[in-house]
Amino acid sequence: MASGTATATSGAAAVRTGSGSRATSPAPGRRAHGRPAPTRRPASAKRRNDLFWAAVFITPTLLGLLVFYLWPVVRTLLISFTETGPFGGSQWVGLDNYAKLFGDARLWETLLNTLKFTVVALLGIPIALVVAALLSTEGLRGVKVYRVLYFLPVVTMPAAVGLIWRTLYNGDVGVINAMLHVVGIQGTNWLSNPDTALYAIAAVGIWLGLGTQVVIFLAAIQGVPKELYEAAALDGAGRVRQFWSITLPTISPSVFFISVLAVIGALQTFDLIFVMSGPTNPAYPQTETIVAQFYQRGFVENQQGYAAAIALVILVVIVAVTALQFRLQKKWVHYV
């Protein structure tokens, strides 16, 4: 349980690699403009030497990528066409596993949960924007302290975070209900009430991711040319107007970058659900994510072929959503 995000998400390595969007840089659109292709020069000794060293440095990474990412993706695809027993020994079943997907009501429920979770998790972006804008206020003291505070959850193990939040959310002795009680609100069993559990967990997800988002937005905001603000101020624009008309359009590539990452991360949520919910939780049907369902089928029920098919569904969903985002970005992302 103590293995945290790294291990938890790497299981979905197949999913992650396929999306292809991991490689996006903070300003993905730049590539569209592109640099002109290098003109052919006569191959010099230096160039050959450069190429040799480039190959030397890239090979270990490339091998790692092939062995630990691409090969498992291929294997997952192959396994999805088989019925694989708990101890190996597989039988080719063609598209049976895929046919089974359509009748699996629970799977689509978990996909719906995952999408809901993702939508809620995206609310973290406006929050991070506001925090970053406030932190970049001219003359604010202790920016570094705030930055550390916001970043702390990012470097904390999600499993540990989940356990702490469980006690905060506790219906009978939790701090949150105690505070609500003071202002006269009757709390609930946040994590075991089917109406609230998903949102309660998503809120923790937002809190966990806020640090990264704030730091990236902060860096982007600091890169906005000061002259723009000065000119706007001369024209009589207030701070709010400046934020909408200058800050936001200028840093929109970063907002896009963060939203792509946040969506992919949310679609692969597993560890938080694993720690804060669980099969004995009455809210589990409302909180089980599709990756949790994949785990259940593959590693609890020993249906590895079917689980591989689910993994590919996750892959397709992530690719589709990410492609959609790339399509939509043309309408709102401005590259300077």
Binding site: M1, S3, G4, T7, A8, S10, G11, A12, A13, A14, F68, W71, P72, R75, T76, I79, G85, P86, F87, G88, S90, A159, R166, Y169, N170, G171, D172, V173, G174, N189, L191, S192, N193, F270, D271, F274, G278, P279, T280, N281, P282, A283, Y284, P285, V291, Y295, Q296, G298, F299, V300, E301, N302, Q304, A307, A308, A311
Partner: protein, 429 residues
């Protein structure tokens, strides 16, 4: 050893790609063991999961080595949360430990997939007498009429109670021959809403819950052949309503409350007066000074068809593809013998399965009525298991949680569970 419902681990997700690799990488390592007597030194690996039992296991390994200087046993400890995923991957790749611990939910899965060595020869050459172990455990480790594991230890279920809460309400302590009616009326009498005290905890718990009450009502969770669900019977309904009525009447916290704070913690905090728990709990309560004096244990109450607890225990098994069959058989015979049981009893962590060696465990914590656990053994029923147990225990948790929470009424839920479980069992055949 308790069987947590979530035996999974986060790290295990990372294993799918690795498992896939292992499938292709193996093949050369899985040569079958030689049957002739071996010469020269042999090193056996022994896979276990409980760190608390390492001293006792090491001592057993050392004594075995002293008697068989040719064979050295090396312990391989894997935490329980990863144990079965790791073991499964290793077994698929031909590299599981020579001898390892097995539990009830998994034994038939491994036996039916030819991962375990049948132990007839071990039993005959090692002169083991299976009558020395609780019969329910011998049955648990049998598959297709053959023994695949030698019982190592066991646990049964009892009712722990908080004497202070009983005194406060002037309710007499449970007696050894108490009944379901006694339990139910005590639970209601002990409940004190004002103080936030519940008479009992009725969680959606199988081993220390409805796996005991269903047989006590005359029903069964799964039939002896492991082929048909027993959840659809009127007796099973009775065994389930034993618990749900407590929740309905407010004599137990709700499922939501017990999800937020585990019933075990509520009991330890003095918020719950009676809590069903396995014999493994004794060590835990013995270690907390405040609890040591205020809690005690009684046998499970007598139901319409008897006073019946479920019994579970670990078994020692041999990997089918071990290269050292002879040495492994000798070691398992030693593990199943009286001396090994004696060493475990002295260590105190578990009740050894070998007849007549359990007294040391009872005497280790004299303030508790631990004899209650031992007295239940003759009538105990085996832990319900089939080839792919976890498929239907998942259904069981899903559906019964809804029943407990009042989303589905008990009779409908159990019918539904029986149908779905039968379908899952049919697929195993």
């Amino acid at each position: 050893m308790r069987i947590p419902r979530r035996t999974s681990t986060l790290a295990a997700t990372a294993l799918l790609p690795l498992a896939a690799l292992a499938l292709t990488a193996c093949g050369s390592t899985g040569g079958s063991g030689s049957n002739g007597p071996e010469n020269g030194p042999v090193t056996l690996s022994y896979g276990i999961w409980d760190k608390n039992q390492v001293p006792a296991m090491q001592k057993i390994a050392d004594e075995f080595h002293a008697a068989n200087p040719n064979v050295t046993v090396k312990l391989q400890v894997t935490p329980f949360k990863q144990y079965f995923t790791t073991l499964q991957t290793a077994a698929a790749g031909g590299g599981a430990p020579d001898v390892f611990w097995m539990n009830g939910p998994n034994v038939k899965l491994y036996a039916s997939n030819q991962q375990l060595l049948p132990l007839d020869q071990t039993i005959s050459t090692g002169k083991l007498d299976l009558a020395k172990y609780p019969k329910a455990l011998v049955d648990l480790y049998s598959y297709g009429g053959k023994a695949y594991g030698i019982p190592k230890d066991f646990d049964t279920v009892g009712v722990w109670y908080n004497k202070a809460l009983f005194d406060a309400k002037k309710v007499p302590y449970p007696k050894d021959d108490w009944t379901w009616a006694d339990f139910q009326s005590a639970a209601r009498a002990l409940t004190d809403k004002g103080k936030g005290v519940w008479g009992a905890a009725a969680p959606v718990e199988d081993q220390s819950g409805f796996y005991d009450t269903i047989p006590s009502a005359g029903g069964q969770v799964i039939d002896a052949a492991g082929a048909k669900s027993g959840f659809g019977s009127p007796e099973a309904l009775q065994g389930i309503e034993f618990w749900t009525s407590l929740v309905k009447d407010g004599a137990s916290p709700t499922v939501q409350q017990m999800t937020d704070t585990s019933p075990g913690d509520l009991f330890k905090a003095g918020k719950v007066a009676m809590y069903w728990n396995g014999s493994w709990a004794a060590v835990e309560y013995n270690d907390v000074p405040e609890l040591k004096q205020t809690v005690n244990v009684a046998p499970v109450p007598k139901g319409p068809k008897g006073q019946i607890s479920v019994i579970h225990g670990l078994g020692n098994v041999i990997y089918a593809k071990t290269k050292h069959q002879d040495a492994a058989q000798k070691f398992v015979a030693f593990l199943g013998g009286e001396r090994a049981a004696q060493i475990q009893a002295e260590a105190g962590a578990v009740i050894p399965a070998y007849e007549g060696t359990q007294e040391a465990w009872v005497k280790a914590m004299p303030q508790f009525n631990l004899k209650a656990y031992l007295d239940e053994v003759p009538n105990a029923v085996p832990y319900p298991a089939s080839k792919n147990t976890k498929v239907w225990t998942t259904l069981q948790t899903d559906i019964l949680t809804k029943v407990w929470n009042g989303e589905v009424d008990a009779a409908t839920g159990l019918k539904d569970l029986a149908t779905q479980m039968d379908a899952a069992l049919a697929k195993e055949q």
